[in-house]
Symmetry: C2
Subunit: 143 residues, 2 copies
DNA sequence: CGGCATCCACACAGATACTG
DNA sequence: CAGTATCTGTGTGGATGCCG
């Protein structure tokens, strides 16, 4: 297994880019938690443990195109490495793998869910703000 | 202004990709807030209002390569449109633009900061978990 | 100074095909 | 089922030039 071609699947992503600089370690964790799929994974797992495909379906219910298999794998591996998610692989055929939150993960997930709930509560205000913004903008385009 | 060539700068990004599907609107806002630069912008603005370049420098102190001018512009526009950030452009030469949080933005920012603080507190545990994970992984690679 | 616009490079997300 | 390997779009961001 050569690591020459670093196609995302190969190595668990660090969250920094390219030939990039150093970055304080906790910002990395923050980025894992707040990543597009990390947020949804944490919120779903707060409800109950999930199997891989089950989790994938649950996330697809949030709308949009849902997670690709690859990104879910990657997200779970990253969160597992950070000690937020517990992976329980049962050695049976067909394979069965259950994902759940660790205590650490539960703490993070609760914060994230709080953010999500607050956001949902305030959606009306956001919509209103957008209308104002868009109206103002298209008005200033009349030139 | 033709909208044919949609180079990211042109139109304020919606948060959905490509030819993508519909997505529940509040998930979009959540993605704006939890976006790589959105998180840092909100946290910094919680401290005090900032001017554009000032904010850019403040964010660069988090390590890594910092925000590009383009991404900061884009992030601020998105957050402004969502009604989280207030933009105060003074019509002077040279231009002076101050960014601050709205009440709505402050609420979101406090949640985000909470998440960041918790994460920072738990870093030791995360580091520990990573060591275990990496050790286990390199052990299983001995084949 | 605080943007906007365009070109370019490349890392990353996603689709697809394959394996235990 | 739960991944792994790989290829291809596309978003991200740097560099550059222009404007109010």
């Amino acid at each position: 297994m050569t690591v020459s071609t670093v196609d995302t699947m190969t190595a668990v992503p660090t969250g920094k880019y390219g030939t990039g600089e150093e970055m304080c370690p906790y910002r990395l964790v923050l980025e894992h938690v707040t990543s597009r799929w990390g947020v949804l994974v944490l919120i779903e797992l707060l409800e109950r443990p999930y199997r891989f495909s089950e989790l994938r379906r649950a996330i697809s219910r949030w709308g949009g195109r849902g997670v690709s298999e690859k990104m879910l794998t990657q997200t779970l591996q990253t969160l597992e490495r950070d000690g937020l998610v517990h992976r329980d692989a049962k050695p049976v055929i067909p394979p069965r793998v259950d994902y759940s939150l660790t205590d650490l993960g539960r703490e993070a997930a609760e914060q994230v869910r709080g953010l999500a709930l607050r956001t949902e509560e305030r959606m009306a205000e956001v919509q209103k703000a957008r209308e104002v913004y868009d109206a103002r903008k298209s008005a200033s385009e009349q030139r």
